[in-house]
C-alpha cells in the first residue's frame, strides 16, 4: 500500500452531522484515511450527552443540525469541553459562518469530492500532528483567520 507521510498520527475524530447517509460516508472516509471515529452526533443534545473523556483531536461539524440546533452552538460546547479539539465546519452554506469562525478552525464546503475531502483531512492531520502542515492548503479546505496566522507564524520560525 501507499507509504504513510513522514509524520502521521491517527486522529480521534468526532462527527456531528444530522444526515445519516452523509455521517456514514464521512465516517468511512475518516477511517479510510487511517483515523478513528470516537463519536457521532446529530444534534447539540447528542454532543451534550457524550462522555467528557472522549477527547477528540478533530471535530467535523455540520452547520444545520437535528432538533433545531446548529453547528455554532456545538462549536462553543466543544471549545468548553475539549479545548484542544480542532473544529472544522462541514457545510453547504459557508457564507453563514461568522468571519472570525467563532473560535472554530476552518471549513470544508459541501458538496465535497472524495479526493477533496481526503486532501483536506490529510492537510488537517499534518497541521495537528506537526504544525504547520507540510502540504499546501487544498482548495476544498479554508482555514479560519486565526489558524492561518498561527500556521504562517510557525512556518516563519521553522524557516
Amino acid at each position: 500500500m501507499t507509504p504513510p507521510p513522514a509524520v502521521f498520527k491517527a486522529l480521534q475524530v468526532l462527527i456531528v452531522e444530522d444526515e445519516p447517509l452523509l455521517a456514514m460516508d464521512v465516517e468511512m472516509m475518516v477511517e479510510e484515511a487511517g483515523h478513528n471515529v470516537v463519536g457521532e452526533a446529530a444534534s447539540l443534545y447528542d454532543v451534550e450527552a457524550m462522555e467528557t473523556e472522549l477527547a477528540p483531536d478533530l471535530a467535523l461539524v455540520d452547520m444545520q443540525l437535528a432538533r433545531g440546533t446548529n453547528g455554532l452552538d456545538v462549536s462553543k460546547l466543544i471549545q468548553d469541553r475539549w479545548p484542544s479539539a480542532v473544529i472544522v465546519f462541514v457545510t453547504a452554506n459557508p457564507k453563514k459562518i461568522p468571519e472570525d469562525f467563532s473560535g472554530a478552525h476552518g471549513v470544508i464546503a459541501k458538496p465535497f469530492s472524495r479526493s477533496g475531502f481526503l486532501s483536506a483531512l490529510n492537510y488537517l492531520g499534518e497541521g495537528i500532528a506537526d504544525p504547520p502542515p507540510a502540504s499546501t492548503q487544498p482548495s476544498s479546505f479554508v482555514a479560519s483567520p486565526s489558524v492561518r496566522d498561527i500556521w504562517s507564524a510557525r512556518a516563519q520560525i521553522d524557516r
Binding site: 501507499t2 453547504a92 459557508p94 464546503a109 458538496p111 472524495r114 490529510n122 499546501t136 482548495s139
Partner: protein
C-alpha cells in the same frame, strides 16, 4: 357715468379714454385688469378700475368703485393668502399671490394678484395699485399635473411593493433550490462512495469509481461557482490545478510531483460543467493510467492566453498511454461530445516519455 362725479382724487386719472395723459389712457385700455384703492378712506375702497377689470369680474363700474376688494372673495378662497395680502397692506409692501376669486355670476377664476403701494412726494402711501391676471388655465394645468403625478407616484409605489414581494419570493425559492442542489450533490456523492466500498469485483469497482469521480468533478464545479464572487464566469485553469492537487493529495502518493504554471482562463459558467468533466477525464487518465502502478513521475499543468484563445495543457511523464479504450470508452466519448459546446478542441500528443493533452479554449469576451 356717476362715478365720474365721485372721482375727485386726481385729474390725471380723470381723462376720457384715449384723451390727455397717455399713461392714464394706457391703463384704461390695457387688457390687464387693474384697480387703484385709497387707503386714506375707511376700509381702503377701490377708487378706480379699468374696463379689463370689469370684464374679468363681470361687475359694472358702479358696483365696484367705493368697495373694498374683498367682495371678490368667496368660500373657497384661501384664508392664509388673504391674510398675507392684509399683512402686506398694513406693512405697506408689495405682494404677489395667486388667489381664487368669484365673478358676479358666482363662477370662479384664479387671480394672479400683484399689489403695491404708490407713494407720494412725502413718501406716504397715497394709493395701492393692483393688477389682476386670470391664470385659471395655468393653475388648473398645475393641479392636473400634480394630481397625475400623485397618481403616478402611488402607482409606482404599488408596483414597487409588488416587485419587492415577487423578488422576495424568488429569492426564497432560489435559496431553497440552491440548498437542494448542494444537498443532493452531496448525497449522490455519498451514495456512490458507500456503494463503491461494498463491491468485490475489481472491474466493476473501477468503473464505479470512475463514475464517482465524474460526479465529484460536477460537485466541485458547483461548489467553486457558488463560492466565487462572480457566478457568470469560471476559471478552468485554477479548477484544473486544484483538481490535480486534490486527486494527488487524496491518493496519498508522495511520488507524484505537480507543477503548475497557470494564468486564469475564464469561460462562461454555462460551460463550466462540461469543461470540468473533460478535465476530470484528462487528469485522472494521466494519474491513474500514465502514472499507473505507483510509477513515480510528475504532472505539469500550463495555462497561457494568446489573444482570444487560451491554451491549457496537461502533461505527464508516465507510460505514454493515450486513454485505454477498454476501460475508458466513455471517457473518450465524453471528451469528444462535450468539447464542441464551448468551442474547445482537444489535442493528444505522445511524448518520448508520457502524454500531453492540450485544450484550446476560446475565452469569454472581457468586459473590463
Amino acid at each position: 357715468m356717476s362715478q365720474k362725479d365721485d372721482w375727485h382724487l386726481t385729474e390725471i386719472l380723470d381723462y376720457e379714454h384715449g384723451r390727455g395723459d397717455p399713461f392714464a389712457a394706457a391703463v384704461r385700455a390695457t387688457r390687464m385688469a387693474m384697480v387703484i384703492t385709497d387707503p386714506s378712506q375707511p376700509d381702503n375702497p377701490i377708487v378706480f378700475c379699468n374696463e379689463a377689470f370689469q370684464n374679468l369680474t363681470g361687475y359694472d363700474r358702479e358696483e365696484i368703485v367705493g368697495r373694498n376688494c374683498r367682495f371678490l372673495q368667496g368660500d373657497e378662497t384661501d384664508k392664509a393668502s388673504v391674510s398675507k395680502i392684509r399683512a402686506a397692506i398694513e406693512a405697506e409692501e408689495s405682494i404677489h399671490v395667486d388667489l381664487l376669486n368669484y365673478r358676479k355670476d358666482g363662477s370662479t377664476f384664479w387671480n394672479a394678484l400683484f399689489l403695491s403701494p404708490v407713494r407720494g412726494a412725502s413718501g406716504d402711501v397715497q394709493f395701492f395699485f393692483a393688477s389682476q391676471l386670470d391664470v385659471t388655465d395655468r393653475v388648473m394645468a398645475q393641479e392636473t399635473i400634480s394630481a397625475q403625478k400623485a397618481a403616478v407616484d402611488s402607482e409606482v409605489k404599488r408596483r414597487t411593493a409588488d416587485l419587492e414581494k415577487a423578488l422576495e419570493a424568488k429569492t426564497l425559492l432560489l435559496h431553497e433550490v440552491d440548498h437542494r442542489v448542494k444537498n443532493n450533490l452531496t448525497m449522490i456523492g455519498a451514495l456512490l462512495r458507500l456503494q463503491v466500498r461494498s463491491i468485490d469485483d475489481a472491474d466493476i469497482r473501477v468503473k464505479l469509481e470512475t463514475m464517482m469521480e465524474r460526479i465529484d468533478a460536477l460537485a466541485t464545479v458547483h461548489r467553486r461557482l457558488y463560492q466565487a464572487d462572480d457566478v457568470t464566469r469560471f476559471d478552468v485553469a485554477a479548477f484544473a490545478a486544484n483538481l490535480a492537487s486534490d486527486v494527488i493529495g487524496a491518493s496519498g502518493r508522495s511520488n507524484i510531483r505537480l507543477k503548475c504554471d497557470i494564468e486564469p482562463i475564464e469561460v462562461r459558467s454555462e460551460h463550466a460543467s462540461a469543461l470540468g468533466l473533460i478535465l476530470n477525464e484528462v487528469l485522472t487518465n494521466a494519474i491513474k493510467h500514465g502514472l499507473r502502478e505507483n510509477r513515480a513521475g510528475s504532472i505539469s499543468i500550463t495555462a497561457t492566453r494568446d489573444g482570444d484563445e487560451a491554451k491549457l495543457s496537461i502533461e505527464d511523464d508516465g507510460v505514454g498511454l493515450i486513454m485505454d479504450p477498454a476501460t475508458n470508452g466513455l471517457g473518450h466519448a465524453l471528451i469528444k461530445r462535450l468539447s464542441p459546446q464551448s468551442g474547445t478542441t482537444v489535442a493528444w500528443d505522445r511524448l518520448p516519455t508520457g502524454t500531453r493533452v492540450t485544450l484550446h479554449i476560446p475565452e469569454m469576451e472581457h468586459t473590463s
